[in-house]
Every structure is written in structure tokens, then in C-alpha cells.
């Protein structure tokens, strides 16, 4: 019989080299990440001031319009994308055969859509909302474009959360005389809630960090707080670009800190909420 250990022993040097390589690679990637975060923080933290955060732009550069704009964009895109995305996923998983042709077509479509560069969505939003609808640059147009951009990801991750719900739970509910709708809303959705909420928060992260789409749809008007959703405006990510390219490096660095903190908080929130929901449905153990 062949000695099963011989292969391993013969290649011990190779394994050792591989291990060293992996360790170094991990170190490099961690270092890059740390370097970026540290650089942004060190350069930006001291530049944050009350005036920058909440001041009046006509006096000195302020990111208040960007903070308000960012919140508006998150609100619009999530309000549109979440109901449509979750409902589509429910339809796909609960009402069509998971292995069917339609499912496969939609699978490919959502994957492709998720891979399209955001500038292409931006161009689409520009041609539709700014030009064809004649809205000009507007927060609404930008928000809808962002909603379209995050929709595929929300559909996909909701789908995955729903599929991951054990079949036994659905059977159990049906066997007790529950209708399909009751089974979906009382058993399946709560079981999948953790995953869905995490997906939504990660989508918010993408909305907050997006810039390409917004340059083409909301116009990067950094000075004014949008008067209505039909007004042009700005966002935190756009402000960084604007400040950096218009001779305000300090303000750019400070805004980057605000954005970074926001995104980190969102990610922590995603993790925490996911856990809390799992706990409340009793799924830990």
C-alpha cells in the first residue's frame, strides 16, 4: 500500500514556502488597509470643525448640504429598492420553481447587473432623468438611479437568505394548516430577516460611497442644501472629489474621515443587527 504521508513529507519545503507566501500576502493586505485608514484619519481628524460639519457655506466651506444630501439619497434609494427587491426575491424563491428556466435567466441577469460599472448606471440615470424626463439634476433622479444600481444585490442576497431557510419550517407551517402567505410572512421572512437586514445595510454602504452615478445625476452643487427632492445637490463622496479638485485638501481629508466613520458604523451595525435578529428568533445555539 502507498504511504499516505510520503507525498506530504516529500513536499515539505514547498508547503513551507507556500505558508510563508500566504502569511506575507496577508500581512501586506492588512498593512494596506491599515495604511489607508490611518492616513485618512491622521490627515483628516484635526481638520474637522463645527463650521465644516454644520456651518453656512456662504461663510466657509461646509459639508452640511452633503450630509443632508447623503441622507436623502439613502432614504430614496432604500425606500424604492428594498420593497421591490425583497418582493422580487420572495416571488422567485417561494412562487417559482427554484430550478426553473425563469429563475436561471433572472439569476444571470442579476449577476450581470451587479457587475456593471456604476458610471454606466450614472449615464443611464443622466439620459433618463436629467435629459429625457427633463428633471435636470435632481436628488430624486440620483436616488432612483442608485436604487436601480443596488436592486440586483438586494434581490440576490434576499434570495440567498430565503433559500437558506430550512425546508422543514415551511413544511411544518403548511402541515398546521397555514396558508402560503402566512407561512411566508410568519415563518420564512422572520427566519431570513437577519440576512436581509445585513444586505440592506451593506447596500446603504454602497449608496453612501457612490460617486460616479451622482456626478451625472445630482450635479454636485456643494453650496446649497437641496430645496426639494427635485433640486440638485451633493453627497459626502462628491464633496471629497469637489474639495480635492478645487484646492481644499484639508476639507477633503476631513470629509473623508466623516464618510469613513459612517461606513464603518454601518458595517458594525450590520453585524450587530444580524446577531440581534438571530437571537430574537432564537437561532443562536
Amino acid at each position: 500500500m502507498k504511504n499516505l504521508n510520503s507525498a506530504g513529507n516529500g513536499n515539505r519545503k514547498l508547503f513551507f514556502a507556500l505558508r510563508i507566501f500566504c502569511t506575507v500576502a496577508l500581512g501586506v493586505s492588512l498593512l494596506c488597509l491599515l495604511a489607508v485608514v490611518a492616513y485618512v484619519l491622521i490627515n483628516g481628524v484635526t481638520k474637522i470643525s463645527g463650521d465644516l460639519l454644520f456651518g453656512d457655506y456662504s461663510v466657509s466651506p461646509s459639508i452640511l448640504p452633503a450630509i443632508i444630501g447623503t441622507l436623502q439619497l439613502v432614504g430614496i434609494s432604500i425606500l424604492i429598492a428594498v420593497p421591490i427587491g425583497v418582493a422580487s426575491a420572495i416571488f422567485l424563491v417561494e412562487y417559482t420553481n427554484n430550478k426553473g428556466r425563469l429563475m436561471r435567466v433572472i439569476q444571470v441577469a442579476t449577476e450581470t447587473l451587479a457587475g456593471i460599472p456604476s458610471i454606466v448606471y450614472g449615464l443611464f440615470g443622466y439620459l433618463i432623468f436629467v435629459v429625457a424626463f427633463g428633471w435636470g439634476y435632481s436628488m430624486l433622479g440620483g436616488g432612483i438611479t442608485l436604487a436601480i444600481m443596488i436592486l440586483p444585490t438586494i434581490v440576490r442576497s434576499t434570495q440567498e437568505s430565503l433559500v437558506a431557510v430550512q425546508g422543514g419550517l415551511r413544511e411544518g407551517a403548511y402541515a398546521l394548516g397555514a396558508s402560503k402567505v402566512r407561512t411566508i410572512f410568519k415563518i420564512v421572512l422572520p427566519s431570513a430577516a437577519g440576512g436581509i437586514v445585513t444586505a440592506i445595510i451593506l447596500a446603504i454602504g454602497r449608496v453612501v460611497s457612490e460617486s460616479a452615478v451622482l456626478i451625472l445625476t445630482i450635479g454636485m452643487v456643494v453650496k446649497d442644501i437641496p430645496a426639494s427632492l427635485m433640486s440638485p445637490g451633493t453627497s459626502l463622496a462628491l464633496d471629497i472629489y469637489y474639495f480635492a479638485s478645487h484646492g481644499y485638501p484639508d476639507e477633503a481629508a476631513a470629509t473623508a474621515v466623516v464618510l469613513l466613520v459612517f461606513v464603518i458604523c454601518l458595517n458594525l451595525l450590520a453585524g450587530a443587527l444580524g446577531k440581534i435578529i438571530k437571537k430574537s428568533t432564537g437561532e443562536t445555539k
Binding site: G168, L169, E171, A178, P190, T281
Partner: protein, 256 residues
């Protein structure tokens, strides 16, 4: 309102079932008496679960599943066009091989079926929850932790919880598909005692791979083989003087 109320005997004539082209159940005729325990035995893949699921129409959920024959509970045709499937399943409870408590509190698990059928008053629900847990003889173990998640219970407790959850729907018939195959002997013993108690009020049909279990608890036993019902008789007849040679080979463990 509830056409199944008080009807506990099952009568099936010329049952044939196909999964696509596969002929899974062949010409099955059986009369299952009320307030008795009837056991289905037979080697793996012979169609026991499939037949059990025709009785509460769980096979409706399976695509490509075609069902022929006459299925009656009392005098109600369960495959009639106007049958309310949810009402049928309320009256014909089902317990699965793998305990499947919902990821919610013990209380909410039990209250699920009553709430489905419109009971919302707290006092009424409290009463049903306690009664159902008592009937499944698990009340004493969980009465202090009704608000805790059902997933924190042991496997045996979870299975009795699932039985209690079915009982909360006030069924007339209880179908159990290998309910003890994932449990230890003590939990198994508790569930067997439970069945003895429950059959005073309802009809029980149980699938089991455990011959001793069938011999211990069943009044009637049906032996299935390759989609056919080979023999169906009083349990002691099946185990002491089976008429069919295949039955004898199976119960004496001489079957492949």
C-alpha cells in the same frame, strides 16, 4: 364550517401515485380505524412517507406529483375540488422525522395554529397552550420558560413540542413520520407512552423502521414493499402469523 369535525377514520381506495414517470404507490386500498394506532412498516423507499403525505395532501407541494384514487376521512372526500386544504391539514396533523420547531418562543410555536385559525384572545390562547403542552406531557418541563426560544430545547423535547404544536390545532388524526428515529431511548419511550394516551381522542398513523416499536404501540400494522401494500392486519397477526411470505421475511429481518 369544519367538515372533518369528529371524523377520524380514513378510507383509501385504489390509490396510485406518480412522481413524474415513477410509479411510487400502486393500487393501495386501506381502511384505517378511528382512535387506534396504525403503523406503516417496510424497507426504505417503499413509499410509506409518500402514502402518509397523501392523507394531509402534503404531496400537493411536490411538483410533478400525480395522485389517483379515492381518499376519504369519514365521508368527506379529501381530494374533492372544494376541499379546504388548510382546514384538512388543521384536522390531520403531522409530525416529522426531524423535529422542526419554529425559530420563535415555545409559546408562539404552540399558538401558531390557533392563531392561524383566528383565535387571538390571550386567555384563550393561554389555555390552549397549556392544554396542548400537557397533552404532549412536556408542560412540567417548559412551563417556566414559555417565552424562551424553542430552539434551546433538547431533541426529544423539541419533538414533543412539535407534537404539542400539532395538538394545538385540535386535530382528529395525527400522522407521524418516524417521529422517534432521531431520539434517544428515553425520549422515544416518552413519545410511545404519549401515543397510548392520545389514541383515546384521536387516530394515529405512524411510520416506523423499528419493529419492536410497531409491535409495542400499534393496533394495526401495514407492510409496504416497492410501492405496494403487501399485508395489513391486526398487529399481533402481522407479527405472529403473517399471511404473506414477504411480510414474514421482513419482520424476521431476513429481507435484503
Amino acid at each position: 364550517m369544519n367538515p372533518f369535525q369528529g371524523k377520524m377514520n380514513i378510507s383509501v381506495k385504489d390509490c396510485n401515485l406518480y412522481y413524474g414517470d415513477f410509479h411510487a404507490l400502486k393500487n393501495i386500498n386501506i381502511e384505517i380505524p378511528e382512535k387506534k394506532v396504525t403503523a406503516f412498516i417496510g424497507p426504505s423507499g417503499c413509499g410509506k412517507s409518500t402514502f402518509l403525505k397523501t392523507l394531509n395532501r402534503m404531496n400537493d407541494l411536490v411538483e410533478d406529483c400525480r395522485i389517483e384514487g379515492e381518499y376519504k376521512i369519514g365521508d368527506v372526500d379529501i381530494y374533492a375540488k372544494d376541499t379546504d386544504i388548510n382546514m384538512l391539514r388543521k384536522n390531520v396533523g403531522m409530525v416529522f422525522q426531524k423535529p422542526n420547531p419554529f425559530p420563535m418562543s415555545i409559546y408562539d410555536n404552540i399558538a401558531f395554529a390557533p392563531r392561524t385559525f383566528g383565535i387571538t384572545k390571550k386567555s384563550e390562547l393561554d389555555e390552549i397552550v397549556e392544554l396542548s403542552l400537557r397533552r404532549a406531557s412536556i408542560w412540567d418541563e417548559v412551563k417556566d420558560r414559555l417565552k424562551k426560544s424553542a430552539l434551546g430545547m433538547s431533541g426529544g423535547q423539541q419533538q414533543r413540542l412539535c407534537i404539542a404544536r400539532s395538538l394545538a390545532a385540535d386535530p382528529q388524526i395525527l400522522l407521524m413520520d418516524e417521529p422517534t428515529s432521531a431520539l434517544d431511548p428515553i425520549s422515544t419511550g416518552k413519545i410511545e407512552e404519549l401515543m397510548d394516551e392520545l389514541k383515546k381522542d384521536l387516530t394515529i398513523v405512524i411510520v416506523t423502521h423499528n419493529m419492536q416499536q410497531a409491535a409495542r404501540i400499534a393496533d394495526k400494522t401495514a407492510f409496504f414493499l416497492l410501492g405496494e401494500l403487501v399485508e395489513y392486519d391486526d398487529t399481533d397477526v402481522i407479527f405472529t402469523s403473517p399471511k404473506d411470505e414477504k411480510t414474514e421475511r421482513y419482520i424476521t429481518g431476513r429481507f435484503g
